[in-house]
């Protein structure tokens, strides 16, 4: 079985983001970029499936600017077999919306015919949480989002999902789309030998136009603002004083 993993290049989770002066978005110039952490979980899970003999090829695909090939190389260094880059933007600030991404992925799925698409539940940049679901809908496939555990057996997968209030286990028929949640696994670090090997792995480049998908934005960002700063706290001397202060603040 072939596993397809979409990976997104996003601002590194450790970077303190800064809003652009004109409020149109977050400043991405000269900022450290990394693979979306939820996608890393997906890459890890796919490699584990391969190591367990449940998958025979792991293909990663990224959509966005040309620099996303760094993200693909990281996935290859983790252990993916080959990569596809779909160049859909020139400007690092142009975000490709979930529906366009899902359409592009659907086109890749038609070419590649994977038995499983494993994707991150959302990207940490805009937290849309939509691409996986849209892709399943476009393909007419089953879906199992927010996976905490994935077991592939024959023509189906048993997925334990993280849902409000607990865990839900579903059985889905392959091919299917599964999205990863935080506790699925702990992704490995790329070792230097594997980074070197990754250089020799194939990375195919296409454009959105090649796949006949219009990626023009349909959403308009009205405003981006930084969260309000936290006000300094105060120290209280006793429980009575604490209760009085809370009452004063109108929270009890």
């Amino acid at each position: 079985m072939k596993v397809l993993i979409p990976v997104k290049r996003v601002i590194d989770y450790n970077v303190k983001v800064r809003v652009k002066a004109d409020g149109s978005g977050v400043d991405l110039a000269n900022v450290k970029m990394s693979m979306n952490p939820f996608d890393e979980l997906a890459v890890e899970e796919a490699i584990r499936l391969k190591e367990a003999g449940k998958a025979d090829e792991v293909v990663v695909v990224s959509i966005g600017v040309k620099q996303a090939q760094e993200t693909l190389r990281t996935a290859l260094a983790m252990g993916a077999d080959r990569a596809i880059l779909i160049v859909a933007a020139d400007d690092v600030h142009q975000d490709i919306e979930p529906l366009a991404v899902a359409k592009l992925l659907a086109a890749v799925v038609k070419d590649e015919e994977p038995g499983l698409v494993l994707c991150g539940k959302q990207a940490i940049d805009n937290d849309m949480n939509a691409t996986g679901q849209m892709l399943a809908a476009l393909l007419g496939w089953s879906q199992a989002m927010y996976a905490n555990k994935v077991e592939v057996e024959g023509d189906h997968a048993v997925v334990t999902r993280e849902v409000d209030g607990g865990l839900q286990t579903v059985k889905v028929t392959l091919p299917t789309v599964i999205s990863t949640d935080l506790r699925l696994n702990e992704p490995r670090y790329a070792s230097l030998p594997n980074i070197m090997k990754a250089k020799k792995k194939p990375l195919e480049e296409k454009t959105a136009a090649d796949l006949g998908v219009d990626v023009a934005p349909r959403l308009t960002v009205v405003k981006t603002a930084e969260p309000a700063g936290r006000a300094a706290g105060i120290k209280v001397g006793s429980v009575d004083e604490l209760v009085a202060k809370l009452k004063e603040a109108g929270v009890v």
Binding site: N30, T74, Y189, L192, P193, I195, K199
Partner: protein, 382 residues
């Protein structure tokens, strides 16, 4: 892309990124502070470093080594920015003792030791200094009687970092009792388990997470096949190893100095006094700029020396220049960082005090700043 200058190509950036992530996850500031306070060796993290393949980095390719000295420099910068202990442990094991075995060791020694080192299954320490032989290292008195099958070692070595963790200590011993100074010295791997070896930690100002020890040898029998290199010519063979050590120490000073600078920047951009951020005062911001400038200058010298190492060119002068400048820079950066952070800089709650304690030793070990100047002066024909 790092906010600070790097000399890394894409592969090295990918490796550096992977090192950064491992270190961020496993050597977080709280853990590092705890190792220091409790004098606890970070065993699990070191094991993890071996699992990542870092202990093979600069070994010969047949033992899994795939990196060069620029990779080493980049890696040590990142490791030392979080934990000097981890960086020093790596340097002693892989760069120095592993490097010595790879360069000088007989085939049986290489095939026995290097695969185990690569997997982190054998650990080394390095012993050169003695009580009366520090900067004057060639005055060493530890004796090894040369028998047919074994050496008999007697003497005391000082300042052996990681001796408590080591399986073997690569020890410089005098094998020719009639020779003086640089002659008649050999290098032997002394098994720490051997009878007559006593390891005693020395209380120090810093470096608590991997203790530095005194090691005493009384009639210790060491098989002849544990000799590294040739009999009586150990001193000469040691010189390139010590040059490589200086490059590694310079890389650590650069990484740790950058961490101290970053901490000062973070603190001083947040802290308010007289109604303004501390960095709004030029007395503070100019000092921080100087910290960054010095760190970058040290980094340039370090990568320059590492490039020469990579090219297999003699680099004794460049290694000494890098080590001298980067260690002095780190010390000055720690002093300045402490000053701009005021009482909080002096407090055990912030990492700046650790930089203050750790920086000093870099001006002392691996050849003092004064010895580096002697080496550079000699190279300049002075």
């Amino acid at each position: 892309m790092s906010k600070h200058m790097t000399f890394d190509d894409d592969d090295r950036l990918a490796f550096r990124d992977s090192v950064e992530r491992y270190i961020r996850d496993h050597a977080d500031p709280e853990s590092v502070m705890e190792w220091d306070e409790r004098k606890a060796f970070p065993e699990t993290v070191v094991k993890g470093m071996a699992e990542q393949g870092w202990f093979a980095l600069t070994l010969p390719e047949e033992y899994g080594g795939i990196g060069n000295y620029l990779d080493m420099t980049s890696m040590l910068e990142v490791i030392a920015s979080a934990s000097i202990t981890l960086a020093r442990f790596w340097n002693i094991n892989v760069n120095m003792v592993g490097g010595a075995i790879a360069a000088l060791g007989a085939d049986h020694l290489k095939s026995e030791m290097l695969p185990k080192l690569a997997e982190g299954k054998v650990r080394f320490a390095f012993a050169l200094s003695e009580n009366n032989s520090g900067s004057d290292a060639s005055a060493l008195k530890t004796r090894a009687g040369v028998g047919e099958d074994a050496f008999t070692v007697n003497g005391t070595k000082m300042w052996i970092t990681g001796a408590q963790q080591a399986d073997y200590i690569l020890t410089a011993v005098r094998t020719d009792p009639n020779a003086t100074r640089h002659d008649g010295i050999s290098l032997v791997l002394i098994p720490c388990e051997a009878e007559g070896v006593t390891v005693t930690p020395i209380p120090l100002l810093g470096g608590h997470a991997v203790r530095t020890c005194e090691v005493n040898f009384i009639d210790v029998k060491v098989p002849r096949d544990l000799m590294v290199g040739d009999l009586h010519t150990g001193w000469k063979q040691l010189m390139p190893i010590l040059a490589k050590e200086r490059v590694a120490l310079a890389a650590m000073c650069t990484g740790a100095g950058q961490a101290a600078t970053d901490l000062a920047i973070e603190y001083c951009t947040q802290r308010q006094q007289f109604g303004r951020r501390l960095t709004a005062f030029q007395a503070v911001s100019h000092r921080i700029v100087e910290m960054q400038n010095r760190t970058d200058a040290g980094r340039l010298l370090t990568y320059h020396a590492a490039r020469k190492l990579n090219a297999g060119q003699p680099c004794s002068r460049e290694a000494s220049q890098a080590k001298l400048f980067a260690s002095d820079s780190y010390m000055q950066t720690a002093l300045d960082g402490l000053q701009v952070m005021g009482a909080n800089g002096y407090s055990m709650e912030y990492a700046m005090q650790r930089h203050f304690r750790e920086a000093k030793v870099f001006q002392i070990f691996g050849g003092t700043s004064e010895i580096q100047k002697n080496i550079i002066g000699k190279e300049l024909g002075l």
